[in-house]
Symmetry: C2
Subunit: 283 residues, 2 copies
């Protein structure tokens, strides 16, 4: 028997993974949730049929979402994660002894439950005493926060469906307000290669540039995401992502990472010309 999971990256491009078996299938108030097991990627999570993470390459996404801002602001104490119900961002964050409190705001409780059961590789640290999980809409949660967080990680799904509001100007403005005067926001930013993704990326970048004085985009190679060339936003009130990189300090912490290192940190902000041009078009 052959069982294949396929995702259309565009109407004309399809990425398929051979599946050993489906471990879970459920429908929450917000979305359809599936977990599959596969030879090539280990277990993987899809929401409404879209790839969220695989055990084989999720380290790239989560390391790049967490260690990039933490190496710029290694004394961050209070962190807000919007989305991130798989627990991957939490896993990387709790490695920092100076982090005192992590609020995770996930709209879909069932995602967290399913990940705890089926994806122990990422959902391993929800029990850390510094973590508080709020099952709420991130858009509403952030409205009441002011001058509270050192770091906000917007670990959203795509800019349609339940995650749509997390790509709006109102949301980014509220993130700005919720951050302390030296706070940083990072967000997943889609890709610049396929047209529809590039348009979404430009829209998000435009709104972030309007909200934050410092706004730069960085990249990573994530094989299971459309085009494999994934972008992230780094937005900040004060710190520059490269000039303020605390490389010596970060390296002294002695973390073992599989993707991130402080040289790659600098390299990740050196974007191809075609991406730079898309960004400049909306700056």
């Amino acid at each position: 028997m052959e069982l294949w999971f396929s995702e259309k990256h565009t109407p004309n491009v399809k990425f398929s993974i051979q599946v050993d078996r489906q471990l879970y299938c459920g429908q929450s108030e917000f979305q359809r949730i599936d977990i599959f097991d596969s030879k090539e990627f280990g277990r993987f999570l899809t929401l409404d049929g879209y790839m969220m993470l695989t055990e084989k390459d999720e380290f790239i996404y989560h390391e790049m979402m967490v260690h990039i801002p933490m190496a710029v602001h290694p004394t961050a104490k209070k962190v807000l994660i919007i989305g991130g119900g798989d627990g991957g961002a939490i896993r990387e964050l709790v490695r920092y002894p100076l982090v005192e409190h992590i609020d995770l705001v996930e709209i879909d409780e069932l995602v967290v439950e399913v990940c705890k059961k089926h994806l122990p590789q990422t959902a391993c640290c929800f029990n850390d005493e510094r973590v508080t999980v709020h099952y709420q809409d991130g858009l509403k949660f952030i409205r009441r926060c002011e001058n509270e967080y050192d770091l906000i990680i917007v670990d959203s799904t795509d800019p349609f469906g339940p995650g749509e509001g997390l790509f709006t100007k109102e949301f980014y403005g509220n993130c700005y307000k919720a951050l302390k005067e030296d706070g940083i926001m990072v967000n997943q930013h889609e890709s610049a290669f396929y047209l529809d993704d590039a348009v979404a990326m430009q829209r998000a970048h435009k709104r972030i540039v309007e909200s934050f004085p410092i706004s730069r985009v960085y990249q990573a190679h994530i094989p299971t995401y459309p085009s494999g060339h994934w972008l992230f936003g780094f937005a900040s009130k004060k710190y520059h992502p490269i000039e303020d990189l605390k490389a010596v300090k970060w390296n002294a912490m002695g973390f073992k990472t599989r993707y991130y290192n402080t040289q790659l940190h600098v390299g990740a902000f050196a974007l191809p010309n075609y991406v730079e041009e898309l960004l400049k078009d909306v700056e």
Copy 2:
């Protein structure tokens, strides 16, 4: 009607492109050659069913194969391309007025003919008076060369089939001998993500390290190649790929590029830890 081209990146991973129509199908002495037209990627070339290039993303591969070494050695005059029958490397090279002579050694004459007819975007510069095409086995051609070239570009297919010999220690040793004392060799190096590709990449790297005093690996995002994370080798007798980068000089030439720039040049050599570890294992 739906017509899909699929390539298995591993036995368990498949990448598929919807095709408008097949423009060419032929069999040479060496391999099967196909050209397809598609909405998403424009025209694309496959050899024995493996993706070689698409009109949409070939600029990434060719710019990274040519401008990386040329920005380190901008006075290179005599260049050898092994493989590269699609003409993409030639197109980027002939932009340099100081380049005086380009030998292209392609084993399969039919590839050049088919590309000239169906891929004018890459096969546009075979008529440049500095270009000489040799329809020979690169492995044999290189044996008789000594102290002749400033730059050798190994634009090979995969390390099986007709391109197999271009990944051997004998071949890299002959490239060393064929280069002048400040010569550079670049080669396509597969990927580090899927196991079989990673093993091929390690094997090639080990052989290059044994032949050249300076040997570094750099990366690019190429969406239609397995994992999208593609590696290249930079091997040299004298020049370091970053310390000897002539950024001011290269930028003064005023080339318009879509992927390459001199900041990205430096960033491309900052590899993820898991790739660095694979390389160190064989150094």
